[in-house]
Symmetry: C2
Subunit: 434 residues, 2 copies
């Protein structure tokens, strides 16, 4: 049974006025939550507090008293609003020691980048007297590790490119060695598209009812896809048993089931394209590069992705994609006809088998009576034909863009799945609302 | 003096296993934190907890006891893991009432989208017996508002496109009416680029020292730019006085100062382009659409943005941008020469005055001995010439992409600022490391 013998309680303290002021997103919660979740531990709580030393001390005292592991991020940097180290030392009853090895590391780091070290950086050279130092290969502030009173405290620097490798390479192995996290994944995630959260639950409920209360279920809706995570909070179900439940759910959902795990829609499309040895091109107006970016976030994208055009003017549609001027003048740039011409133009210009095109009004400005803000035309060019769909999304610009991209990706995914089964695309694809 | 008479204590409870499992980012903290910050209130604490009813009740009881305003997000949806409403009602000592008007709204919403309502949606039709309902124009779950014991509780639905308009249009005005937030902005933010956090503090410290301890200072580093927010926590400094300090800082920083406020680097470039009546085009490989997307996130981008090409193959560079094949063969696609050819090709093909090109190895695969993973070439085409720079970034693929985009944007910004002053670009732009 992949289960730790007790359920250790993890709390994450994320420190920084910049988080509470909304200057920066709390990516640490997302990252650490996912990493721990994959190791069989659900974070019990995440508390974000200010840089105020008294608040830090109060909150750390409270979290330390009720938890087995306290993870702290931020507040280790050189600038004046970083007071974490000192506040925590008081609660632990430990002194801070100046560590010349850390100083040396800081000096070397500044030399590497040819920058002059300012003296405020030396604040980062202090560690707890009864604690260890976690090396930071990507920054100046080291991580700090303390085992005391049968508990673990781990303090990590705030910049994500410093924290993430430190957490994966040093913190997780240390936690695993202490039996506080598992070595292997301990949940199964179903990713779906084209089905709403409540409908998804209603469809799957009969399966969940049959399996019974040992099954933990969590839904999470994104812009255009919904995840359902199956776990066994009490540890009574093995990973294989969870997998069997997930397989049953997937069969029931048919083409609305995307994948097991966390692969993006673009990644699923990429795998299908590569296995079928097909290439893809894209052309965008309204989504302005976001569709291309979804594919180029995938390492090795050049193996299946020929390229994309962001055509923000009629001229660029004619120049880059050979869209006929008369078509743009007659139907307008935001039309089914233009979307189809863009898709075929992208496929031909870039030598691709498949092409997606998106044109529309992402808002808040623009739009016409016939095609108000939120109107999006998506076209799919495939080896056996080209189709378009008219979609309509409410919401702010970035939401409209993201939903349009996800709709396009999901359409391509369904078509590639169909092609992989050797089935032809149905004829009535035009004007399907999603 | 723009200052509430007392400093009300705000806590934000974000509820959802999906947050603690890292399935979704805690965008509510970012959004609500920024909105409150702009109204003179710094969130005192944000606590993210599981969907577990007992945890919700415990945490709500604690937050309610020590706060003036408790904002709760999530846990109002239709699916089985939403137990927030019930848990909070117990602590408030209130009953939940079924409200037929909410039921009617839910039914209308489903009818609008032509979907069938599943019965689990009716959970959302309950409200507190002594409380009000906040209409939700973008979803089924209404917000809930309670004034009790001299405190405010406001519960909002989790989906951002439902929460955000509800917060801006209904919650903030109600809070302002009660004197709990200000009507006007109460801080000044300096956005900088091309200068590290510690160097920035060191440079500005003499100004901060002179102004004294009434000044609140918070730094926040992003990928390639650093924000410094000036506020007056005790309310002793007016907005005009803060603005004067910010102006002095801006003068000291010279071209490293980007803007006052929160405009993105792309938005600052866009404003400069529009005021100079110039047009921009971009060409990308490694950043794969992210650079285009930075510009097309701006409403009305077509006024200055001609378009972009994502050229993931040598063929596409030749086809779309007329990059000579012999150049690609001699120097490789990742080279200063190719970057320059891409920039000029984009400017010419898309009829633009300025063009940015980015080519490189974002990793983790790819790279050569000469140009390992993380190597990026940026080229800038301007009316009076074209230049390239070689940059090198450590870190994961998405970080490399974001840093490359920010470096390109900052270079364009500096050049546009220089052009607006009528000054020529210095000659030694090549191979500057940032």
């Amino acid at each position: 049974m992949n289960k730790t013998t007790h359920s250790p309680r993890f709390e994450l303290l994320t420190i920084g006025d910049e988080l509470l002021l909304g200057l920066t997103a709390n990516g640490h919660l997302t990252f650490i939550g996912a990493e721990l979740g994959a190791r069989g531990v659900q974070l019990h709580r995440n508390i974000t507090i200010t840089d105020d030393a008294e608040d830090i001390a109060d909150q750390f005292r409270e979290s330390w008293s009720r938890s087995d592991v306290v993870l702290v991020t931020g507040g280790l940097g050189p600038t004046c609003d970083d007071r974490t180290r000192e506040a925590v030392a008081v609660v632990l009853g430990q002194k801070l020691l100046f560590d010349p090895r850390i100083e040396q590391h800081i000096l070397e780091r500044f030399a590497l980048f040819g920058r002059k070290m300012t003296t405020n950086n030396l604040k980062q050279a202090y560690r707890f007297e009864r604690g260890e130092v976690l090396a930071n290969a990507n920054g100046t502030a080291p991580g700090l590790w303390v085992e005391q009173d049968g508990k673990v405290l781990c303090m990590m620097p705030g910049p994500p490119n410093e924290l993430r490798p430190m957490f994966t390479e040093q913190v997780l192995p240390r936690l695993a060695k202490l039996g506080l996290v598992l070595e292997t994944e301990a949940y199964v995630q179903l990713r779906t598209a084209g089905i709403g959260e409540s409908m998804l639950e209603t469809k799957l409920q009969p399966i969940f009812d049959r399996v019974g209360s040992n099954l933990g279920i969590a839904f999470c809706a994104h812009s255009g896809h919904v995840d359902c995570r199956l776990s066994s909070p009490g540890g009574q179900m093995s990973l294989a048993e969870l997998g069997a439940v997930a397989d049953e759910c997937a069969r029931l959902l048919g083409d609305d089931f995307v994948t097991l795990g966390g692969d993006s829609l673009a990644k699923v499309c990429a795998d299908l394209l590569r296995s079928q040895e097909k290439r893809l091109a894209v052309a965008e107006t309204a989504t302005g590069g976001l569709l291309s970016n979804a594919f180029t976030d995938i390492c090795g994208a050049s193996k299946f992705f020929s390229g994309g055009c962001v055509c923000y003017s009629n001229d660029s549609k004619m120049q880059l994609l050979d869209v006929p001027e008369c078509l743009l003048l007659q139907h307008g740039a935001v039309s089914a006809e233009s979307a189809v011409a863009m898709a075929t133009g992208a496929a031909e210009k870039l030598g691709a088998d498949y092409a997606l095109a998106i044109t529309g009004f992402a808002g808040p400005c623009g739009g016409t009576n016939e095609n108000p803000v939120g109107t999006i035309f998506v076209a799919l060019h495939a080896p056996h034909g080209v189709w378009s769909r008219k979609l309509s999304y409410p919401g702010p610009r970035t939401t409209v863009k993201q939903r349009a991209v996800n709709a396009a990706l999901d359409w391509l995914r369904r078509e590639l799945v169909r092609a992989s089964k050797g089935a032809a695309m149905p004829q009535n694809h035009q004007n399907v609302m999603q």
